[in-house]
Amino acid sequence: MKPLWHKLTEMIGRTQKVWYVALLILVLVFPGMTTSYWTDVAFFFGLYILLGLSLNIIVGYAGLFNLGHAAFYAVGAYTTAILNTVLGIPVLYLLPISALAAAFFAYLITKPILHLRGDYLAIVTIGFAEIVRISLINNIGGLTGGPNGLLGISRPELFGMRLYTPTHFYYLVWFLVIMVILAMVRLEDSRLGRAWNYVREDELAAEAMGIDATRTKMLAFVVGSALAGVAGNIYAAKMTMIAPESFGFWESVVIFSIVILGGMGSIPGVVVGAFGMVVWPEIFRGFAEARMLIFGAAMVLMMLFRPQGLWPSPRARRAMESQKKSRPSAKAGTA
């Protein structure tokens, strides 16, 4: 029996590799195949994958409901914009600095709120994000430019080449997407990644095993926000102007929905979710006005019929199955 089993897994492994290579080639040649409009759409697809992956650390891995993720994104974008326009530091040098700024901001604000229960954490993060947005509108410290935002962010330069076409930014963002996905795959199985899983499933048991739950949750916010800061930097570089309205509540909802629709804690899920949230509406531009209506209905239907997400992580799938087995009559009992 064993050789056959071996062969099968090998075959599956090989087809998977073929798929990965095919996808990679598609990513590489895509801008050559289409118009600059669709290259731009693909850029935003990549950007939202980054944002989705960053929130996936907080919501998916650590199970912390963060409905104010746009705030960390905003901190990254504004750090880039302010340091670039005031001090003239090149945009790409600011990429790690934006990440650090967003991470530090996350460290400061999440410290007192980590003990809050699921939906309350969501509400507090909404509150923080709104305060950030209002502060940006009110031109805090005279630095954020008020409701009109900041403009004149310079173009990034890479090895002496100025990046300005949609194709340039497309490659920049997709390079980051691939790097981050590879990092995430490693992170999932790392000590920290497993600690996140444990804390999400059972905080008390995790504490008993010697995991510092508060520190672990805090790290989820810090790492996730750093990545959102990176996305903010890229966004500022691409747009060359940013305004507070790009970082409102609905932006947070979009990022949150990417994680949920795809399946919490699932990397391919984030890609599918970002496709659903960013590319799908572009394809259906014809429906223009009704598309958000359809989207809202889809969110409800999704929870009714496929709550685990479109592409759930393997462990979420296992958890679902074992739940079904152990509770044949799910009808009885209310929480």
Partner: protein, 302 residues
């Protein structure tokens, strides 16, 4: 001093509207332990339905007395919004009652997006403006502070509704059943209470109050937009948290405190930071006193 009293009255007026909306959040939270994110949209719906009745259908023309006309319309708005509330519960929340904390939250967000866009598609994306004089512009001067009929109507309506609700919850059999469901569904069921029916009732009362609040905001500020529900929703939710979520008198007290704090802040600190005050209160209360002023504990140890 006149400005101070002016701001206080302002604050109480808007605060009583927050309180009415907050009751919807707090009652749903009380029986279902979920945050009904779509509640703000039901509030907006109330404002738009009132707009249709007053402007498009001109219902006031059929009833000679302006105040009676307003009461009739308020009842109709309440009824229609309650129907939407019951449908919302039936379609988006009821099937998810067994499925953890996350699914209902997402479903509620989805329902909120759906309703907001449905309102936009039905009534258009532009602001709607109520005509002047729907509420006769009568003003009284008391000690240098002017009080309009509109404010008197808002205050008396809110107060009446809140007292009626309080009596319903505390003194009647139905109210006892609602309180029982808030404590424990299974035990309530064992006592012969139809829990589904009680939840439906909560989704009648909450949206009805929210719809009336929406109508009052429309008449008071005379301008409504399809996104206003989020704004009022989050503030009302803050009021509910402030008073202690799940606690009905708490929502009323929280609404009034929030309204007054906000209008004093707008008057004495800065109008631009007015909205930040509500969020600051929200965060501080959740960090420092998560039980709210009068409520149950919400921060979980494990």
């Amino acid at each position: 001093m006149e400005m101070f009293f002016g701001q206080i009255i302002n604050g109480i007026t808007i605060g009583s509207i927050y309180a009415l909306v907050a009751l919807g959040y707090t009652m749903v939270y009380g029986v279902l332990r979920m945050i009904n994110f779509a509640h703000g949209e039901l509030f907006t719906l109330g404002a738009y339905m009132a707009f249709t009745m007053i402007v498009s259908m001109n219902l006031a023309a059929y009833i000679p007395n302006a105040v009676v006309a307003l009461i009739v319309m308020a009842v109709m708005v309440a009824g229609l919004v309650a129907i939407v509330g019951v449908l919302l519960e039936r379609i988006a929340y009821k099937p998810l009652r067994q499925s953890g904390r996350l699914a209902p939250v997402i479903s509620a967000l989805g329902a909120s997006i759906f309703l907001q866009n449905a309102i936009m598609l039905i009534w258009g994306a532009n602001y709607k403006v109520f005509p002047e004089g729907v509420v006769p512009s009568i003003t009284w001067e008391i000690g240098g502070v002017s009080i309009t009929l509109m404010r008197v109507l808002i205050l008396s309506t809110s107060l009446t509704l809140m007292i009626a609700l309080y009596v319903l919850i505390q003194r009647t059999q139905v109210g006892t059943a609602i309180r029982a469901c808030a404590l424990d569904h299974d035990t309530a069921r064992l006592m012969g209470i139809d829990v589904d029916k009680i939840i439906r009732l909560v989704f009648i009362i909450g949206p009805a109050l929210g719809g009336i609040a929406g109508m009052m905001v429309g008449l008071y500020y005379r301008q409504i937009g399809f996104t206003m529900g989020w704004h009022y929703g989050i503030k009302a939710f803050t009021a509910a948290i402030l008073g202690g979520i799940g606690n009905i008198p708490g929502a009323m007290v929280g609404g009034l405190i929030l309204g007054v704090a906000e209008s004093l802040g707008a008057g004495y600190i800065s109008n631009a930071w007015k909205d930040a005050i509500a969020f600051l209160i929200l965060i501080l209360i959740l960090i420092l006193r998560p039980t709210g002023l009068l409520g149950e504990r919400v921060a979980e140890k494990v």
